[in-house]
Amino acid sequence: MTMHPHHPLSGEGIALHKPFPLTIRPLADKARFSLRIDPDQRIAASAVLGLNLPGNIGDVAYAGEKTAVCLGPDEWYVTVPVADQAEIEAGFAALYAQQPHSLVDVSHREVSIGIEGRDAALVLQSAIAFDVDAMAPGSGCRTIFDGKAQIILLRDAKDRFQIDVWHSFSEHVWHFLQVVAREIELDI
């Protein structure tokens, strides 16, 4: 029997053309890791990942298609292309002898949603209680969406955001985004 990952949002998409272009869409599948390691061993972990793990909470590092956001003093959320997953897992398994750590594959727990357009921050502001527009591009955090769903929010660029959310919450988040996009379209 072959098992296929289930994507609750596959085939969905929201596109507005007025007043300004705005697209909200599920992003391509990727491998996701939750990494906990002694912050002093950041360099060793960075070498295995092929990307410099950021040291400050909220900072995001990019290397090609790999991203890593620092969520806590010793916690990182790392996403890489699916093709690199096995190599990274093997690299960390080898590192374990020198440095105990925890690398957990959470790929199938989350779905990613991309929000792009001039009003992207406005869309998110309707569900997030802190000042979304004050987030610097290239930063991210774990937070609560609409008072219910825990998400990981990345601001890749001034007008481009990414939400990673659990499958079970994704429909709620998606419907919320649909409603907000409609309100923006109608200028309510």
């Binding site: 909470i57 969520l71 003093p73 209680a129 802190f130 955090c141 937070t143 609560i144």
Partner: protein, 99 residues
């Protein structure tokens, strides 16, 4: 909604990201076997419950996951300051308008 300053994230975050975790600076007895029942009860259950400035633990559970301490006025619900766990209680001078 209240915004709470997390000393680890160094950012103002909405209160829904946080969980309250009781009074801060409750030291566990150094020699538990010497305590009688009343002393154990006091250690486990008896809290100061002040009207006014209260030092308490919070956890940024939906953010960085860290426990930290906060000084909050229980009357106005205003956070006076937050500081990292393991730091001593900061000295706070109550201003005239707080009871």
């Amino acid at each position: 909604m209240l915004l709470i300053h997390c000393p680890y994230c160094n950012a103002e975050r909405p209160e829904v990201e946080f969980a309250y975790a009781g009074e801060a600076h409750i030291a566990r007895p150094t020699d538990p076997s010497q305590l009688d029942d009343d002393q154990w009860r006091d250690h486990l259950y008896i809290r100061s419950n002040p009207r006014g400035l209260h030092y308490e633990r919070w956890r940024h559970i939906h953010g960085c996951g860290r426990f930290f301490n906060a000084a909050r006025d229980t009357l106005s619900d205003k956070f006076v300051t937050t500081y990292k766990a393991s730091l001593p209680r900061p000295q706070i001078v109550q201003s005239e308008d707080t009871p």
